[in-house]
């Protein structure tokens, strides 16, 4: 192999790795909300993908109306957090304490929301326009890379840092962590764990909304996008373990890279490349890499 071909190969490889990492950042934003809710409330919110899609649609509409990307992100987060509030207070309150009923209720909500999206926005594919200040490419080392994808990477890292600080340095975070470990004990200490639950649920939902706007800009929004992102989030959380932030980050990077390289090298088996390792891992470590027994 001559020097030029080798340099070209290295550039393609670097590009693929960056693609994998930016996808991982998006996955982390979505899956961190999922794992927070799963970890504390013990609810596997299968409507999380639908919340992501709704966040994207709302961001698209607000962005088109106001022309502001920041406003689109904020309104998507607020809207989806309110939807999470409605889901928790309006529906999940009737099935508290029974895990499987909660899971299947959220599955029903996912079907309803998906169809509602189809009614409101139709079956077309939308892409949220990239704002001007994030268009173009930046130079990273010797690599030209799209600015927006770098932005997604930065947002992913910021969300990780913010959640880490929230969980480890604040009173609310201490309550959430205590709730993950032993819910009854927290209640016995006289703390209203319900309101902690509700805040967590809204925060997790807001992250899904934020992910929807990011994903809607560098991927696309279409009626089955919710199921696809849900499956990826599930894989991330299953690999990382329930309620673990570090687990979600490692799982997201793993899935992001596997997905990118799987699609390039084994396009027909791309799904297998992602879920094969996940199924194997779960068979031997049923609680994931960082999971703790309930």
């Amino acid at each position: 192999m001559n020097v030029n071909a080798w340099a070209g190969f290295k550039r393609v490889l670097a590009f693929q790795i960056m693609n994998g990492l930016t996808f991982a950042a998006l996955l982390f934003v979505v899956a961190s909300g999922f794992t927070l809710i799963f970890g504390l409330l013990r609810i596997v919110n299968l409507a999380h993908g639908a919340l992501y899609l709704f966040g994207g649609y709302v961001g698209f509409t607000v962005g088109a109306w106001s022309g502001s990307f920041v406003l689109a992100m904020l309104s998507a987060m607020i809207f989806v957090a309110l939807a999470g509030y409605a889901l928790d207070q309006g529906l999940l309150r009737f099935v508290r304490g029974v895990e499987l009923r909660q899971v299947m209720l959220t599955l029903g909500v996912a079907f309803v929301l998906n169809d509602l999206g189809l009614v409101i926005w139709g079956g077309d594919t939308f892409t949220i326009p990239t704002p001007e200040w994030l268009q173009g490419a930046v130079m990273i080392g010797k690599l030209f890379y799209p600015k927006f994808r770098v932005f997604v990477l930065v947002v992913g890292v910021l969300v990780f840092a913010a959640l880490w600080l929230l969980l480890n340095k604040t009173r609310l975070g201490a309550l959430i962590r205590a709730g993950v470990d032993d819910r009854e004990m927290v209640e016995a200490c006289g703390i209203d764990i319900r309101s902690v639950f509700l805040v967590t649920f809204m925060l997790g939902s807001a992250l899904a909304g934020l992910g929807g706007v990011l994903g809607g800009t560098f991927l696309a929004l279409y009626p089955s996008a919710d199921a696809e992102i849900l499956v990826f989030s599930l894989a991330v959380v299953i690999i990382g373990g329930r309620g673990s932030l570090a687990g979600a980050a490692i799982g997201a990077v793993l899935i992001g890279l596997l997905n990118t390289f799987g699609q390039v090298w084994f396009p027909q088996l791309a799904y297998f490349v992602i879920f094969g390792p996940m199924a194997l891992l779960l068979a031997f470590r049923p609680l994931g890499l960082f999971g703790k027994a309930a």
Partner: protein
């Protein structure tokens, strides 16, 4: 809880009379209901008798249909051989799933089987040279069997009768009682010396075998299979049918399949919003009648409390 023998006989007699009175469109709907009853009961074998709720049975069911249509149309094998291969394929897939999943329980079992089912869906969608991708596989299997709508109904009803009896024997056998023991108290059964993972693997494989038979019937009925047959919505609606019929009732599968398919037919003739109605039905059942329609009716009638109040068996 089992239905007593007179009810079962009356039900069988009713099903046998259906094609004599209904127009042929409804006979085909009735055939569909019977086929999905088998799928529903196979899910119930696992969910109701071992306490493990699976979300992958659409994939097992659809795999069987894929194998039948592929071996029949591409390899040109005779239909009995193709059908046997279909059931075998589904059983082997269930065995593989079981090997990976039986050590998990509760929500993790649900999630793992969901992911496994999605692998099958992904392969059916992407492995275009074999599965035909989005276009699916189409054959003339039903035509070559020379079956009219009523003839097909009769054949399906016969097979469904035999399979239902087999499942009933299976869950009533000493082995089935062991499964119930595992559902009620896994730790105790293990300390009594029962090999819990082995029992669950056998139960999962047997349930896959029954779902495979449903898949074979569906292949003949539909003459067409596509990724939508193995997708999550299929597993979900199968599970919903089982829940509506009542988890752990086995024969409730007929009621569940009837309610959901009749609802689908009724709704589809009025509006295109079937997924929304399906979702709303799911939510309503989970909130108001998690023990299923039969269980709810029985509760209201007798106020007895010997039915699993959580419905879905935990």
């Amino acid at each position: 809880m089992m239905l007593s023998r007179p009810y079962a006989l009356a039900g069988a007699a009713f099903l046998a009379c259906v094609p004599l009175v209904l127009p042929s469109y409804y006979v085909s709907v009735a055939t569909q209901i019977l086929i999905f009853s088998v799928l529903t009961m196979s899910i119930d074998v696992l969910a109701g008798f071992t306490g493990r709720t699976p979300l992958c049975f659409g994939a097992i069911f659809g795999t069987s249909a894929y194998v039948v249509l592929y071996t029949f149309s591409v390899f040109g094998w005779p239909w009995p051989l193709a059908m046997i291969c279909g059931v075998l394929g589904a059983s082997l897939l269930a065995l593989l799933f079981a090997a990976l999943a039986v050590r998990t329980s509760g929500v993790y079992f649900l999630l793992l089987t969901l992911a496994l089912g999605l692998i099958v869906w992904g392969i059916c969608l992407r492995w275009t040279p074999v599965t035909g991708g989005e276009n699916g596989l189409r054959t003339e299997l039903r035509q070559s069997l020379g079956l009219s709508a009523r003839g097909l109904y009769a054949c399906v009803a016969l097979v469904v009768g035999v399979v239902t009896f087999a499942m009933w024997r299976f869950v009533r056998s000493p082995f089935g009682l062991t499964l119930r023991g595992i559902k009620e108290g896994e730790g105790r059964m293990a300390s009594l010396g029962y090999d819990v993972p082995l029992h669950l693997t056998i139960a999962f494989t047997a349930a896959g075998f029954f779902a495979g038979i449903a898949g074979v019937l569906y292949a003949v009925f539909n003459d067409f299979v596509s990724p939508s047959t193995v997708q999550l919505a299929q597993s979900v609606s199968g599970l919903l049918m089982a829940i509506v019929g009542g988890i752990g009732t086995l024969f409730g599968g007929f009621v569940g399949a009837f309610v959901i398919i009749a609802l689908e037919q009724a709704v589809s003739s009025v509006t295109e919003r079937w997924p929304m109605v399906l979702g709303l039905t799911f939510i309503a059942i989970m909130i108001f009648a998690p023990e299923g329609v039969i269980g709810k009716a029985r509760l209201l009638l007798t106020k007895s409390h010997n039915i699993d109040p959580d419905g879905v068996g935990r």
